[in-house]
Point group: C2
């Protein structure tokens, strides 16, 4: 059994919280993700609507980031079998929960 120094315990404690912070940052740090979350929350909840409000994002990147947000559980989607097909996105509970933190970040950014 390895005797633990207080420094080792200290490191593991903080490394753990940092892993969580980095994990959180990675889920929202995509170039457009914060923007996409806000727009979806405001009703721009379809692929073509998001393209309209994010004019400089490519189809490929928009699609990829939508899938990543879905995989991370921040958004969900509803496929409506019309012709042409229609897809509605919506924030999950977890997606809603990030909005106040994004707001806090925006306010923090204005300091000084």
């Amino acid at each position: 059994m390895i005797k633990e120094t207080s420094s080792n315990a200290y490191n593991r404690k903080f490394l753990h919280s940092v892993c969580r912070i980095n994990g959180a940052l990675e889920t929202i740090a995509g170039r457009w993700k914060a923007l996409m979350l806000i727009h979806i929350a405001e009703g721009k909840n379809r692929f073509s609507l998001l393209k309209q409000v994010l004019p400089t994002v490519s189809d490929q990147v928009l699609g990829r980031q939508l899938r990543e947000l879905e995989a991370d559980g921040l958004i969900g989607k509803t496929v409506i079998a019309e012709v042409p097909v229609r897809v509605d996105y919506h924030l999950t509970e977890k997606g809603e929960a990030i909005l106040p933190i994004l707001d806090a970040l925006a306010q923090w950014h204005d300091k000084r």
Copy 2:
């Protein structure tokens, strides 16, 4: 003069808040920055101490991210003219203010 549609006004409003969020994210999204801020807050406030607690970061990257955090106003440094020279880092008021947000991110990350 260009007549504004309500959609244009809508876009500019949200694009503005998103620019602020992305700006905030960029200042802390470096691979090690959140970790560095926490460690500096906890007293690991010198180059060699940070290297000890961040064993996989290279000197080059550590130095660069320290300079970036300093340029963004999150940390300050004090150079003590000993031999060998000694440099102490400390969080600025702005740097302290981000800590609760990082904590909120960590708690959010644990959801579900």
